[in-house]
């Protein structure tokens, strides 16, 4: 298939893997973080780690939109969905995320009407078809999905739709990366930058990572060869002692981002003073809320939202996994108490979550696989 197979070519992968291995200094260990959950998914789905030497460890970062939603926000959403005449719309990823009393699926079994949509714009269709209902879109995601929420709000405003609102949970990536860089328990050598987020914000916002923290960043695409090439580019920088922001995904990511998308976000949303991230706690200026100007579309203003806070389960080590301090399987409850069927932590729910990716795709001992391949 064109535009896909070219980026999954095993011969090219072997050639790149050899170049990467040649750049490894003997005795040195490399820890590279892929910030984005989409990358984590690709890495596991294609078995990319098979191409990496043992001295390179990929650390899975916080860029999984579903994973960072705290349990209390799920409870708040279910509370909203339980209000009279409410139809809630949500991306499919959210449907199984557990709140303290269960997930959206469980809530639907109890009588709420939470529908899966593929695009926020589908919510408008539902709102038009159900003028006597109040349609609330559960907006989640980083700068990647914020523009589509923004465009949907602008469209609703133009149409004068009165029965559509947004429960805004959009978060921004830079404060999360900064929190990780400032975390004392982690030593990283470089970052595989989030490609989709960067199509919107561009590469410039990462410059502080290279400048102030001395870590190279390579913004990467989502096919396995994209990621392998990005690892190669990081290794070249490290071998030359450089730390710069480079763009591997230049076929999609403009250096300055997408001004139209940024303008739409700026028009419809504003920064929250603080927002709670699952496992990472409160991070200031790290999330977006509906702009004052669009108060009539802000579910948090239209409805009484209880603002529930649910303490992360003590056994759950999502925070350490999201920061890359622990590998998914090092969490105490991984795979036994916490599984994709009954996820305790959000990292186990989303296909982009590091725990789900490891459980579903990577649940095998790579050393044994390597031994079997040699024998």
């Amino acid at each position: 298939m064109r535009y896909v197979d070219e980026f999954r070519d095993a011969d090219k992968a072997h050639a790149l893997a050899a170049k990467i291995a040649a750049l490894c200094e003997p005795g040195r260990q490399y820890k590279l973080m892929e910030v984005c959950g989409g990358h984590t998914h690709t890495i596991y789905k294609h078995g990319l780690e098979d191409y990496l030497p043992e001295s390179i460890t990929l650390v899975h970062g916080p860029g999984c939109p579903v994973c960072v939603i705290p349990m209390g926000r799920v409870d708040d959403a279910i509370h909203l969905a339980s209000q009279p005449d409410v139809i809630m719309t949500s991306f499919g990823d959210m449907m199984r995320v557990p709140g303290s009393g269960g997930s959206f699926f469980d809530a639907n079994a109890e009588g709420t009407n939470i529908r899966m949509v593929y695009s926020p714009l589908d919510s408008l269709k539902i709102a038009r078809q159900n003028p006597d209902k109040r349609v609330v879109f559960m907006a989640i995601g980083f700068e990647t999905t914020a523009p589509s929420t923004a465009m949907t709000m602008l469209r609703a405003a133009t149409e004068g739709l009165k029965n559509f609102s947004v429960f805004c949970n959009h978060v921004t990536i830079i404060p999360a990366i900064k929190a990780i860089l400032d975390s004392p328990d982690l030593r990283l050598d470089g970052f595989i930058g989030p490609g989709h987020v960067s199509t919107v914000i561009g590469c410039r916002p990462y410059e502080f990572i290279a400048r102030d923290y001395g870590k190279p960043v390579v913004v990467a695409g989502f096919e396995p060869l994209d990621i392998l090439q990005s690892i190669y580019m990081l290794m070249v920088q490290l071998s030359q002692g450089r730390s710069e922001v480079e763009n591997q995904y230049s076929r999609v990511v403009p250096w300055d981002g997408n001004p139209v998308a940024l303008k739409a976000i700026g028009e419809t949303m504003e920064l929250r003073p603080y927002f709670e991230w699952r496992g990472l706690g409160f991070i200031s200026h790290s999330a977006l809320q509906v702009h004052q100007k669009y108060a009539a579309m802000d579910a948090e203003r239209l409805f009484q939202v209880p603002g529930v806070r649910v303490a992360d389960p003590k056994a759950c080590q999502c925070g350490e996994v999201l920061k890359g301090v622990l590998k998914p399987w090092e969490c105490k409850v991984f795979g036994t108490a916490c599984t994709p069927e009954t996820p305790i932590g959000t990292c186990m729910v989303s296909p982009e979550g590091a725990c789900a990716a490891y459980y579903n795709f990577g649940r095998m001992n790579r050393n044994r696989v390597a031994e079997a391949a040699r024998s």
Binding site: V4, A109, Y118
Partner: protein, 398 residues
Amino acid sequence: MTSGRVGHEVHGQPNWIDEALREHTEHEPDPAGPGDRRQLPLADREQQVLDRIDRARRRRPRVREERITMSHGAGGKATHTLIEAIFLDAFRNPLLEPLEDAAQLRVDGSRLALTTDSYVVSPLFFPGGDIGDLAVNGTVNDLSVAGATPLYLSAGFILEEGFPVADLNRIAESMRDAAAAAGVHIVTGDTKVVQKGKADGCYINTAGVGHVERDVNLGVARAQPGDAIIVSGPIGDHGITIMLARGELDIEADITSDTAPLNGLVADLLDAVPMVRAMRDATRGGVATILNEIAKAANLGVLVSEDEIPVRAEVRGASELLGIDPMYVACEGRLVAVVPGGDADRAVAALRAHPLGEQAAIIGHVREEQPGIVQLKTAFGGTRIVDLLVGDPLPRIC
């Protein structure tokens, strides 16, 4: 964790989490403690965790939810749990226990196969078929892959008040034609009507009886190391067709459902290779689910190669866009067969000689390593496992 924020309630740990953790510690007391475990090399610690997960997966499944959710109908892990924890527990008997597509019965010295299936597909009419031929072919196929010659079907209808009679006529005609094509007769039936809003147009249940004339002994538990795994054609056509037919995605592709009766294809395969170990038709949950059923039932490993799995370009393209793996997408006219390694080429040749099996292919093998686990060699050249899905992104596919 405490919060300094005013006006926000802080709740403790929910009960269901306490319960999951209690169950976990009951089964896996950890006397050494994490401190000591950390002394072990990384690979050994990882292996310990993998072993622990393996034990957890072998424990008796339990339905934790208080109510049925859509996941319970998706054909993945939640469906398996529901069947094993509720239905198998309640009805347990030796004929049911193998959980094959059809039960094998002996009546006065004759071997019969009995199966039933319900159809709730939405939309009712889709490119390549409708709920009517689906309901006939599905049951014919469940009998066929059990090694039986399908003979007689029943048809039960649950209709919603207000359903157009013209549509019902169309469905009945389509069932008649499908039955004729498969050489079966619909000999009994039932009709119920429910109030508007209590069903979605038309649901159909069919049951079928077939005669097991051949001396076959089929079952996924019979798989042996070295056996080849074969699919009879491109996978995922039906599921993607239904998904696109719903019109919610604004994606168009030239693709139709593969719904078809497999009895002729199965007969040709069994003529060529009487030693076939197992067959399954790859409906809900797709080929990936069947591979997992083989690995689990036989307690052996399965290794398949992504490059060898036939998938139409349209299905791959749509799956890429939707973030779905075609391995999990339903087919309605494809079977997966396990045959002794030495018979594999003969089996593929027999399938390819039939119009429904032209693109049959060997996709992998059964092996001793990693019992219970399905491993995939990716087209990219890496390895990963292929697990059962918990839910399904495509509800009401059949």
